[in-house]
Subunit: 345 residues, 2 copies
Amino acid sequence: MLKWFEKSSGSDDVVISSRVRLARNIEEYNFPSRLSKEDAGRIIDDVKEAVLNAHEDNSYFHSVDMNNLSSLEKVAMVERHVVSPNFVQTLVPTGLILSEDESISIMINEEDHLRIQSITNGLNLDEALQNAYRIDDLLEEKINYAYDENIGYLTSCPTNVGTGLRASYMIHVPALETTGKLQFILDAIGKFGITVRGIYGEGSKARGSVFQISNQITLGHSEQEIIDNLTSLTKQIVEQERALRNKLLSEKRLQFEDAVYRSYGILAHARIITSKEAMTLLSDIKLGYELGILKSDIKNPINIYGLMTCIQPANLQKKINKELKIDERDIERATYIRNNLPKII
Amino acid sequence: MLKWFEKSSGSDDVVISSRVRLARNIEEYNFPSRLSKEDAGRIIDDVKEAVLNAHEDNSYFHSVDMNNLSSLEKVAMVERHVVSPNFVQTLVPTGLILSEDESISIMINEEDHLRIQSITNGLNLDEALQNAYRIDDLLEEKINYAYDENIGYLTSCPTNVGTGLRASYMIHVPALETTGKLQFILDAIGKFGITVRGIYGEGSKARGSVFQISNQITLGHSEQEIIDNLTSLTKQIVEQERALRNKLLSEKRLQFEDAVYRSYGILAHARIITSKEAMTLLSDIKLGYELGILKSDIKNPINIYGLMTCIQPANLQKKINKELKIDERDIERATYIRNNLPKII
């Protein structure tokens, strides 16, 4: 079964994906930072039973034994946004429940007892939230959430208290970034309780002009208000990105085409390539496909974001089933890209 | 009929072509700097008759009326090394006799009354000299050369007196150039009366790692000595270039391949390209073909030097039959290269 990011349907020209994450804790247990190994194990068992047995399709969810995973496989999951970087480093026993297409994941004993995550392609936070709610409801039938009538859901870190909701869009904004206009937007939207980070979360650098835009405030607003606020601001960014793309295209079409085709030419022929350079070039051709400069046949729809994910260091090694040193990776990455780059017509 | 530089046979991995030029003057006339229009016309007529009627194949040589040529066509001839830059600027009436494949040209009333030039592919100065001698002999039957028993052929500029011979090799030395070793060689060979210049002669910059290496001394040595001396030094440069290529290939094969393929990828996809950048990238792929990194089918043998010539500003405009502004040229050059770049297999 294809992973959500390998499907090409649903994504749009700017918004790659929508993601929600609900933080939940169980009343009877200490927060994970003070959780005993035994209690951690009990939580894992309870959650697994609640989810795996309840879902109508038994094969849709499966439990991943994190202890059995190599560190390579764990990092690959982080690169695919299936789990958080913290999750693979924590000392408390952890559990993970994952849907087949990896669009839904439930981290057990991360910073909170439960982190329910749901991802969809394109601009579709409402669907992502509904999918997360279904899991949330399922669990609530079997588990007593730590919940306060006045405050809402209680969480390890006060920044998550209330709704426990973090909603985010993954956006591709090459025109805003290369013209330097993104910085102005970032400065402005901070006031609205919205933050923008690189593709791999807090402290990570943006690569390939891919950014995550998400809410910082979880308390004092309803889930719908949070999502509507984030969506409204994101739509404004999308409109600005589109306007700028059209401006560049109408004013400097040929220079634009030249840059896109050169990036394609390098990706299609390079023998050594770092992930940083590959992300930049893939960003160029993603834009090229979206603006109709590059064309591919319909049978082979373009999913450059999927390629961006597969060439990350750990996923690359998983894809070719080989542990590699850094310089070997740059060689295999170039080969992988050559073999998987959509042909242009 | 193909021009000499469009043929792929005969060229080798380092030496692109061999060229000789004989400077001759006619006893009865003033040197061109003091030549009357009438006398200039007489010389043109005499030389045309001597060459055009004498050659066994009537169609092999033809006379070019320089007055009827556009400045674009004149510059295109300079780019193809058919005539010298001076020749198209001179005020005296000039004449030009050209062989079909442009391997032999006779400039009439350049700096001297006669400049007989012969070019061959690859390292083959002996053949080039023999071809020039045949024309020289043909003319000598009908014309009294200005000749002094002690000094030799008399010429306008004292640097050509004696043999009147300038011999040169066109060499492609990317490994020597990019490693900075070429400069040491240039410093050393000056002592031997040898000079190295860019692809378009005195004062021109090297482009695409193509250089001309030629004798400076025309007096006090026989033609054969001049040629042997130049050939011996050129062979040493060739050996150094080859050794360095092999060293780079054995020590950094993959980096080398990567650079070659990237250059190919850009040439095969760019939409705008200057002649300077194109020369650099074509130099890379020329090296790539010579070292067997890039391969093409045998039916379509590689002649990158031919492509280097065709993308020069004036020749490009001639090829596509359109006068172009500079920025239009960069676009048409990219198109021309895409259409004429050998496919790799």
